[in-house]
Symmetry: C2
Subunit: 426 residues, 2 copies
Amino acid sequence: MSLPLPASYCIATYRCYDEKADFHKKATGIAVGLTVGSWTDLPEARKAEMEKHLGRVVSVDVHEPAAGESLGERYADIRIAYPDVNFSRDIPALLVTVFGKLSMDGRIKLTDLTFSPSFLDAFPGPRFGLQGVRDLLGVQDRPLLMSIFKSVIGHDLPALREQFYQQALGGVDLIKDDEILFENPLTPIERRVEVCMEAAEQAGRETGQKLLYAANLTGPTFGLVEQARRAIGAGANALLFNVLAYGFDALAELSRHPDVNVPIMAHPALAGAFYPSAYHGISANVLLGKLMRLAGADLVLFPSPYGSVVMPLEENMAIKDALLTTEASGYVTGGRAADQLSLRTSFPVPSAGIHPGLVPWILRDFGHDVVVNAGGGVHGHPMGAAAGGRAFRQAIDGCLSGIPLRTYAETHPELQAAIQAWGIKE
Amino acid sequence: MSLPLPASYCIATYRCYDEKADFHKKATGIAVGLTVGSWTDLPEARKAEMEKHLGRVVSVDVHEPAAGESLGERYADIRIAYPDVNFSRDIPALLVTVFGKLSMDGRIKLTDLTFSPSFLDAFPGPRFGLQGVRDLLGVQDRPLLMSIFKSVIGHDLPALREQFYQQALGGVDLIKDDEILFENPLTPIERRVEVCMEAAEQAGRETGQKLLYAANLTGPTFGLVEQARRAIGAGANALLFNVLAYGFDALAELSRHPDVNVPIMAHPALAGAFYPSAYHGISANVLLGKLMRLAGADLVLFPSPYGSVVMPLEENMAIKDALLTTEASGYVTGGRAADQLSLRTSFPVPSAGIHPGLVPWILRDFGHDVVVNAGGGVHGHPMGAAAGGRAFRQAIDGCLSGIPLRTYAETHPELQAAIQAWGIKE
């Protein structure tokens, strides 16, 4: 079943598991129940008025279990179109409409969301986006390199400054706060930003590089703009934000606020409460892909498929598509992420467990438009954090020159040491 | 393994599934990794300084699968104490600390959270709470009755007014907006509140009852206080809020804001993205119980164990405990919810699929401190919505008098009709 639709419906795709449900009936129940409430018992005259509010079943693809498979694996992919006229132009309204009550209705997962042009129109998207971040750094021709503060809780400003300086010396492009560093007496955000930006400048005189420092934006929701102003006033040239702890709308409002004029990096903290189950929650491509870009994240972190905290490669690629696609195609019939072409793209940042021996895989899977992001892979380098950064830059340079890492390492001692420590993924 | 702890740690409990993990090692990894980052390699002098920032393993209970069970069912309940000194006094900071990165680390679910006295101190909790809501309504001696607007999208003000009036006539104590009703040209919040409160007054002259109308608070996050002011200015005497779409902190800030001086009713929209999986997410007692009360919800809706959208009774009872407990006990060794005794209690509102024939079960499971909440059970009554409300009030009265519903129905035609339509749950 498929309907031609005008351009004013957002479409949700659900995967719905049930051993015996009539999935077509269920789909109709969703389309009616989450919009006009009831339909068949309406008088005809009223139907004409209400039709523009009625949800539509776009498609129902039932997957019967193959012989021998457990009955539990019977499922359907159901696509429902929701009229924009029913909800306001914000992400809470859309999510509550398409997956508010429905999220609690059995084994059902929200696997895709397609935004109508008129819904999208309300979202400026990332203020800087991938290209804007490249422009700020003056780096157009290679993947970027980011490092993450480690063990910062309980440390004072001089310790943070030194850690920042050592990371910066290694030639990283971005440094991010630990997402669990909140306002605290030892390293309050303004003082932290001041000493770190000072360290960035000092390192920059050695490396000749620019650097973005994403300071962790935390605290009460209604004070986030003021907190961002304080950080930016102190010199922060980027912000880290735990989006899922505050809701997508907080990000959307921050990213469009005139005073928050620096790139925002979205951290995936709490994302594992949503995406990993096959039967419940919200898929990673929606949660960490489409909605992050829609809400205006300039860079998006997510668990890489390589390291310690693992997400399957297929899901990583779906996030990448959602963040990077700019190809036009029909928004109803088009595939994943084909609807967001009007927005700036967001930098994908696959994270966790990354060491230089993984760089060829990251570039193979993500191309050049990626941020290589490391914590332990920088700080745990046998020759220190500065060497850790250099080893990554060497790994990137080697890959871009088409030289095997092992060969490139022969003339690059930092990379050599990293490979001795962590190996090369084959 | 168990440690005596000073009163400045919040404790998270995780259920962690793994076929072969060393759960004690994993617990230590969490306690160190999510606090100071590293421990064993610190110099002794530094350890003395850092000790107050170090997370502690409170307990590790390993459940080996019984013979014959699938290996996949090997799990451990791990309790970790996190020093308050590491995070700010807000729910995003606590959640990001205890379940930010960790949520993405395999099959792990956050099953309990215990707040330290010093963390709790920062939260005033519900402004009205259960007793405050009773006082506003002047109803002390029975469960309350709430009805929900149905099919409001696409309807105009006169239609809403009439629907409100019919509901109110039946003797309900509270009426809530549909959670998917957002700002719209047909029924903008101020006009909607005006006509509904007018209808409430009109009905009140017939019923002699007071009534709370929870208008749906929606729109941009940073505009929520202003939107609440508008609704309250127009006469709203309660607010409905889709907490999980905005984050717990938005509720916490609204509930303590001096201008938001009406009860707030928390809707569980999106909750099914978190709680139903055994292996991932956040348990219902934490999500819809402890955190809602901590953040200041005066009433909390959640899926009942009886109706169409079902949650197991055990989880319902855990939510009830979290919302209602006032008994003191040690916060470390005490059971569930024993930590929140200093906060006002929140009214539990088990919802979905409720009809009068379920009222004896609701009262059996929840006692008198419960809101009986119905949508279709009011509007779908064969004699109309006013009769629907009356049938519920009769069912409640019958139960409180200890008279079996069937007997009570003999002299109460509305209840009789409801029982004929939906039966009595045996």
